[in-house]
Symmetry: C2
Subunit: 179 residues, 2 copies
């Protein structure tokens, strides 16, 4: 698929998915897109867990679910290894930027392969829920679970959110200046 076609087709699918299985190669290509994302100081802190079927998703959905996670035939959990970035003055931590860049490329890679997905982070804002989900995923508590991306074919056409006008967000030369 053309790059800009994929870019324009991507949307946040918050509704149900069809039950059709997602080929493992599709999921691996989505992870590879996450690996290829820009990352701070090339520390490569982001980790991925492919959940290729309901048997692997159900325990996670039991912790905290949404329409998407309850029905998705596959999903990918995105975590960062918090032990890699040195904790010392003057060393910046880029885990949030890095996971965000990875997820952004993953959502596009799902779209480019004809699948819908979602940046599902809200179930893991709550520290207790996040700890439970991390445990279900078999990850040590040094891994920070940021988001889970359900992947599948959408059951119906998902809703799209509108955007402000281009000229209200883009300036030329200086802030607030028009073309």
């Amino acid at each position: 698929m053309d790059f800009f076609e994929a870019l324009n087709a991507r949307y946040s699918h918050k509704e149900e998915f069809l039950p059709d299985a997602v080929p493992l190669e599709v999921l691996e290509k989505i992870c590879q897109a996450g690996i290829n994302a820009p990352n701070g100081v090339n520390r490569q802190v982001v980790r991925f867990i492919i959940l290729p079927n309901r048997a692997s998703i159900d325990p996670l959905a039991a912790v905290s679910s949404t329409a998407g996670l309850a029905t998705a035939p596959a999903a990918i959990a995105v975590l960062t290894d918090t032990t890699i970035t040195p904790v010392q003055p003057g060393v910046f931590n880029f885990e949030k930027e890095d996971y965000s860049a990875a997820v952004t490329q993953m959502l596009l890679a799902a779209t480019a392969q004809g699948y819908s997905s979602l940046w599902l982070d809200s179930p893991y804002f709550d520290a207790a829920n996040r700890a439970k989900a991390t445990q279900v995923l078999g990850a040590p508590d040094t891994m920070y679970l940021w988001a889970v991306l359900p992947v599948g074919k959408p059951k119906g056409e998902g809703s799209r959110r509108g955007r402000m006008a281009f000229e209200d967000r883009v300036s030329y030369g200086k802030f607030g200046h028009g073309k």
Copy 2:
């Protein structure tokens, strides 16, 4: 350009650029990719300032420069409007995720149009430098300057950073499990 071709071609160009001007349509298409990026609660907090020539970049490069910013024929500053997200308990702030997602799509959009770019954030980690740069850009101090993306044709082939092996970052079913 094919989506995965653009994905694989993107890299962080930290070296010099050729002086050739970048058409405004190319820069606007990069901003549109930033606008189209996933964003938290659709608050649309990210703002873009197109710096289409050296006259608009030079004052910014004078604050804090790098090889890329010193030679780029064009650049785009990426800021967030910090007044949009309500500051109250239970309301999460997604400015870092949102700007990261926008920049990620912008870097791909530059690549897909045959240009090189860079997620240049380090000059603005320092609060004093960031304040100076924000002022030079004519933005109020309620705008947070996160990064500036130089855009142009590379002078030489830029260096690429290696990546860890796929199997060291991707698990199947549970953390640490192989295929």
